[in-house]
């Protein structure tokens, strides 16, 4: 699936939820399904700055596609990062760099995108795109 196809899929899933509680419960569920991150990557060097919770993101290039793994000690932040991993994982650096992550607004999570927001969604996106930029320029 293309990045936008995945975004549409997520928007579709969220459209069935009536209220915030359904959405948050789904995020909590997603956080539990996020593939386990290798403990070797849960170090300072993979830690995202600017979040109240600790969020680690690791990326590597496999056959021209970026593979992301991530974790957080807070559940909702982990649910948000699970969504990001689902959208961006296994795509080329160019695709990731050229992506507009419009699904965040469409699923009603835009409030989490303000720069001072404690869960650091914005910092997570920035870090994932930084990896893409680094792999592209390699």
């Amino acid at each position: 699936m293309t990045i936008n196809e995945i975004q549409e899929e997520i928007i579709d899933e969220f459209s069935s939820f009536d209220d915030w509680m359904d959405k948050y419960n789904y995020l909590i569920e997603l956080s539990k399904e996020l593939p386990i991150m290798d403990n070797a990557y849960k170090t300072e060097s993979y830690l995202i700055q600017g979040c109240q919770s600790r969020v680690w993101i690791h990326a590597e290039l496999q056959n021209g596609k970026i593979r992301y793994t991530a974790d957080s000690d807070a559940i909702i932040a982990k649910g948000l990062i699970a969504l990001l991993v689902r959208v961006l994982d296994n795509h080329s650096p160019e695709e990731i760099l050229n992506t507009d992550l419009y699904f965040i607004d469409k699923i009603g999570m835009k409030e989490n995108l303000t720069p001072t927001r404690a869960n650091g969604l914005l910092s997570m996106i920035k870090q994932m795109k930084m990896y893409a930029l680094a792999f592209k320029n390699r």
Binding site: M21, Q52, S53, D73, A74, I75, A77, A118, N119
Partner: protein, 405 residues
Amino acid sequence: MFNAETIRKEFPILDTCIYGKPLVYLDSGATAQKPRRVIDKINSLHTSCNANIHRGAHYMSNACTSEYEEARERIRAFIHAPNVRNIVFTSGATASINLVAASYGEAFIRKGDEIIVSQMEHHSNIVPWQLLCQRTGAVLKMLPFNEEGAIEMERYEQLLSEKTRIVAITQASNVLGTMPPLRKIIDLAHAAKAVVLVDGCQGIVHAPVNVEELDCDFYVFSGHKLYGPTGTGVLYAKEKWLEAMPPYMGGGDMVGRVSFERTTYAELPLKFEAGTTNYIGMIGLGEAIAFLNTLDLPSVHAHERRLLAYASERLNAIDGLRIYGTVPGKCSIVSFNVEGLHPLDVGMILDKTGVAVRTGTHCAEPVMARYGITSMVRASFALYNTIEEIDALGKSVELAIQMLR
């Protein structure tokens, strides 16, 4: 008799809905909401009487100046300072502490001197002293608190010595709510010939303040936590120190005569008020004090203590919840964590239910470190909060636990 339901009507913002739910504002420790008369005062100045103070030869300038000086007098009376010369207006408690650290520090602090700072201080009452130590070669000494959140007074007596020059201590911890025994701390410091700076940011909201009786050398607070506007602060200092301290910032309004050869400084307190101050804000803070003066403050403080007692009981009944700071006589701040849950998750779910609390380090990382954690949830109560709102907090915490476990 004080009635919170009646007083709420004076605070327009409390009618706001968040995500379609009534706002339950439990973050007054970060900033308090403003009564209508403060908002109206600021508006009316901007719409009908605004001119720069102290120098104008015209009607509005004189009117603003006299309101500004009237605010100073109200603040003086509120904290029982001997004279308006003791009251310096700043942009906030942080600015007040930095002023003292820089200016008193320049005059009196030398290499090898010691500054005692408690472990429960806000970063604003730690970092300025660290910077002073770096500049001068003075030594920072940490005064610890125990598991319950009480200052370790025995350690304090051990730390005090002929090298001690300054003791910096909060009137009420912004995390633990602890109100240290200031009287004793100040007397012991004075016996060691050290001066004491009291951070009154949280304390002045919940308890009466009498700086002359306390005999502290410096007392600072921010206006915005005391129902006044943001960007307003106060430094009270004994006159002998203000006279001995060099000016902190140079600029307009703080001078007597200026020439390139020699400049003389204005009388106290203007010597420390360089540039155009936030005069509209300070008049707004004067209005907040006037608002408080219409209330019976002992019954306001009793109301806040009832809220604290009820919140402590309500939250303690929740399985796995721990409150940090359990010293008797603490002010109406409750910081807590739920076993196995990240405070940020709890805060985000509370937010969705309309309950506004703070999560994080609360600008007091040494307090977090003391308990070996990185963050807490904090609910802080002001005069406009109600028992019903604490029930809402309790229910939302239970909902968060149900969702997150």
